[in-house]
């Protein structure tokens, strides 16, 4: 009974720390020792977050081959779907600071991220709303 109470208490404390983190817009992913990230819109992921944390790259690696080479569209494992949900509402990107969703975790794990050397790090809706030619002179 005592053990159960201590488990409940620690769970309560964990949730409380989660709430405290949420106050500045950041969420502690992967436990209290993990990075604190701006998860953007968030919500239900296409797979269990724990699975995604260690396997997301396998899903998008598989998907990129099917999309580029076979032309299969509309999969739930598209990189653009990741970005649509997880781009920060502050800078409309998954990159930029060490709190941004992709960059934050990759910096924490010290894994180089290649996707955005070519792919846009901004959500589709935001891209549609901005005029590409407006930035043309700067290029």
């Amino acid at each position: 009974m005592k053990a159960l109470a201590s488990i409940l208490l620690s769970l309560l404390l964990l949730t409380a720390s989660g709430w405290a983190a949420a106050a500045d817009g950041l969420v502690a992913v992967a436990g209290p020792m993990g990075p604190k990230l701006d998860i953007g819109k968030g919500g239900h992921c296409v797979r269990d977050p724990k699975f995604m944390r260690s396997n997301h790259y396998k899903l998008i690696l598989h998907q990129r081959v099917e999309t580029v080479r076979q032309g299969i569209r509309g999969s739930k494992y598209e990189l653009t779907n990741c970005i649509d949900c997880h781009a920060s509402k502050v800078n409309h990107s998954v990159l930029g600071t060490n709190q941004n969703f992709c960059q934050g975790c990759h910096v924490y794990a010290a894994v180089k991220i290649d996707c955005f050397e070519c792919h846009s790090s901004k959500p589709r809706e935001f891209m549609k709303a901005t005029d590409h030619l407006a930035t043309e002179d700067a290029k």
Binding site: R69, R73, G74, C118, S120, K139
Partner: protein, 247 residues
């Protein structure tokens, strides 16, 4: 390249399919011709029943107009070329017959060949032809060797020398890879027309006609059978997807 007997190749690869098509009951073809005008359903791969192509009517292509080029640049987000080595997916070309002075305007881009030399030479299989005939570069595999650029008789491909900064388009682009016209593959998959075709029609020129070369109900299928058109460098036997009127 020119030594390859294309007819024999096609006979060997398509012979069995043709035989199967004949074997079915009269009036029923095994290979049902697909209509490519609508968006392909999610999860479905590009079909080899479709062959995307374009018919360019140079008599309607106006001198000095570069709306197709601007539209392509806007859609795929590539910068204004400042030197000969800069990225250029599509360009306007003006031809002049010296003896008569007759001038012809045309947009030049990847011709989406049936037997693309760029695919033949690619050491990493990054250069490939999709089932529906669109020739693409898989930039995940491209190592930037530029063999394809040398192999292409149309000078249609470019190498990205500079880092791509603030890229905001559906078409990923990156430094160190080769790229070219994709027929706006993302739009085509949604059932839309390539950006250049849309821009040309918007301006009222309608010099570019895009569609499925295999679909008897498509406008391009019928036009190509009713007007005189040519492939550029037809002597190479590459069977490009793009044909020209009035060249």
């Amino acid at each position: 390249m020119s030594d390859v007997n294309e007819d024999r190749r096609q006979f060997l690869t398509r012979g069995p399919a043709l035989a199967a098509g004949i074997a079915i009951a009269p009036g029923m073809l095994l290979i049902d011709l697909a209509h490519g005008a609508e968006a392909r359903p999610a999860g479905e791969p590009a079909s080899s029943k479709v062959r995307w192509g374009m018919l360019i009517d140079t008599t309607k292509c106006e001198s000095g107009c570069d709306d197709c080029v601007t539209a392509c640049r806007k859609e795929n987000d590539w910068p204004v070329p400042k030197s000969a080595t800069d990225v250029q997916w599509i360009r306007k070309v003006e031809l002049k017959q010296e003896s008569t002075g007759r001038q012809v305007n045309l947009p030049m881009m990847c011709q989406h060949c049936e037997s693309p030399p760029c695919v033949d030479v690619c050491p990493t299989a990054a250069s490939f032809k999709r089932a529906d005939g669109i020739v693409l570069v898989d930039k995940h595999r491209c190592i930037g060797c530029r063999y394809c650029m040398m192999a292409c008789p149309y000078k249609a491909r470019s190498f990205v020398h500079e880092p791509v900064i603030d890229h905001e388009s559906e078409m990923p682009r990156g430094q160190g890879t080769v790229e070219s016209c994709t027929f706006c593959v993302n739009r085509v998959d949604r059932g839309e027309q390539p950006a250049c075709v849309e821009a040309c029609a918007k301006e009222g020129h309608k010099a570019l006609l895009f569609g499925d070369l295999n679909d008897p109900n498509s406008e391009i299928y019928q036009r190509i059978r009713s007007v005189t058109s040519v492939h550029l460098r037809a002597d190479l036997g590459l069977n490009p997807g793009i044909s020209f009127v009035g060249v």
